[in-house]
């Protein structure tokens, strides 16, 4: 196990993760990147996707994240996202329901006053959750 750094993951409604780890993989708008100890200072926006944190026993713990951003400075890594949950916390029924809702909204189209951008983002989040839950 390599050297450790401090990882903070914060969302508007809780401090999601606040511990030391030696590796985290997040999905930026440019693709997945892995952060190890002593990474150069970096700021990058994150897409809806997954986050992997390497735990004490070398296994990765998976979490579903929505959009946010990442800052790396010194030995401190901060991930700010709109929402985050561990894969085993995902409420499958809620995600399916959200997916259905978003789909009908998109099908109804803009004439019903739907915010298409928002509906698409909601759909993407729901699909992300469902996929992660099924695979992991």
């Amino acid at each position: 196990m390599g050297k450790k750094f401090k990882l903070d993951v914060v969302t508007p409604d809780r401090v999601f993760f606040e511990e030391e780890t030696d590796m985290v993989i997040v999905k930026t708008t440019e693709g997945d990147i892995g952060i190890l100890y002593d990474h150069e200072p970096l700021v990058a926006p994150l897409r809806i996707g997954s986050m992997r944190v390497r735990m004490e026993d070398q296994t990765f713990k998976w979490a579903a994240c929505s959009a946010g951003f990442l800052t790396v400075s010194g030995d401190h890594v901060t991930v700010v996202v709109d929402s985050a949950e561990w894969v085993d916390e995902i409420d499958m029924e809620r995600a399916l329901e959200a997916k259905r809702r978003a789909e009908t909204r998109i099908q109804e189209g803009p004439e019903k006053g739907t915010d298409l951008v928002r509906a698409r983002a909601a759909l993407e989040r729901a699909i992300n959750r469902i996929k992660l839950r099924e695979v992991r």
């Binding site: 903070d8 508007p12 409604d13 809780r14 440019e30 200072p41 926006p45």
Partner: protein
């Protein structure tokens, strides 16, 4: 005399029932204050993290160009005023509204977003230009509401109808002290003092500094508005608790005074009755 004691008794009863109400309000707002403070503690780290991130980016890289970053004051400000929907909370609402209109030079140029019924009513009555209002959310603000407010405010800024966004909210200093605050949201002022400290550190931006800012600044606006609303709602409950506590204390004082008058009046009536009886008996002799 008899009527006077009855009057006083009635007054005592009425003050007493008012006191029951204020006492109940006090208890309710104590409970709500606790909940609001818990919420505030949860959101604080998020709020602080974004704040520091934005400031770090701006101070680390002087070359960043964005329409949201500039210096100098605008002439077409937008004020987002956060107040409550309900009264009975002392100076809480009026202090926030006063703070908002403190620096308004001309009523035509300044625009207002009213969060909470009190701000909406007061600003409208006084002829201010309230272009949008968000009612019945200030007690339990959700992130979604903040996102909505942020979206319509930034779109106005992009259209050029306004050139700066101020957030007026009530800062929660402690349970007995809250302070109305005017915060300049956009354009963001460049932090000037940090040049010597960490200007040499090179920070990488993926894909580019401008792209990152384009993403982060709306987030910053959203989360600052959200944080402001959460703090205001805690302040509201604290202000209401204090106001109701004072009202209950006042009612108690009034009841004490009235009881004294009542006893005095009762004693006077008894004395008079006795002297009448004695006088009557004397006359029969």
């Amino acid at each position: 005399m008899a009527s006077s004691t009855r009057d006083i008794k009635r007054k005592i009863r009425s003050v007493n029932s008012t006191m029951q109400i204020t006492k109940a309000f006090e208890l309710v707002s104590t409970a709500k204050l606790k909940r609001a403070r818990d919420r505030m503690d949860i959101t604080k780290p998020y709020f602080d993290t974004i704040q520091t991130a934005v400031h770090d980016i701006l101070s680390a890289d002087k070359s960043i160009k964005s329409k949201f970053v500039s210096s100098g004051h605008g002439v077409k400000p937008l004020y987002i005023v956060v107040t409550s929907d309900r009264g009975l909370c002392g100076g809480y609402n009026i202090n926030a509204i006063k703070k908002a209109i403190e620096n308004v030079t001309s009523k035509e140029d300044a625009k207002f977003f009213a969060v909470g019924k009190k701000a909406y009513d007061t600003l409208r009555q006084n002829g201010f230009n309230v272009i949008d209002s968000f009612l019945y959310i200030s007690e339990k603000p959700e992130f979604l509401h903040a996102a909505q407010i942020a979206k319509s405010a930034t779109s106005l800024l992009e259209k050029g109808e306004i050139d700066s966004i101020h957030l007026v909210y009530t800062r929660f200093v402690s349970t007995i002290s809250q302070e109305a605050t005017d915060l300049l949201l956009l354009p963001i002022e460049r932090p000037a003092a940090s040049e010597s400290a960490q200007a040499t550190e090179f920070v990488n931006y993926e894909p580019s500094a401008e792209e990152v800012l384009k993403y982060i600044i709306p987030k910053y606006v959203e989360s600052t508005i959200y944080g402001g609303m959460i703090e205001s709602s805690a302040s509201e409950q604290a202000a209401r608790r204090i106001a109701m506590e004072n009202a209950s204390d006042n009612a108690e004082d009034i009841i004490d005074d009235l009881t004294l008058y009542f006893n005095r009046a009762r004693q006077a009536a008894i004395t008079q009755e006795i002297s009448e009886i004695v006088g009557g008996a004397e006359a029969l002799k």
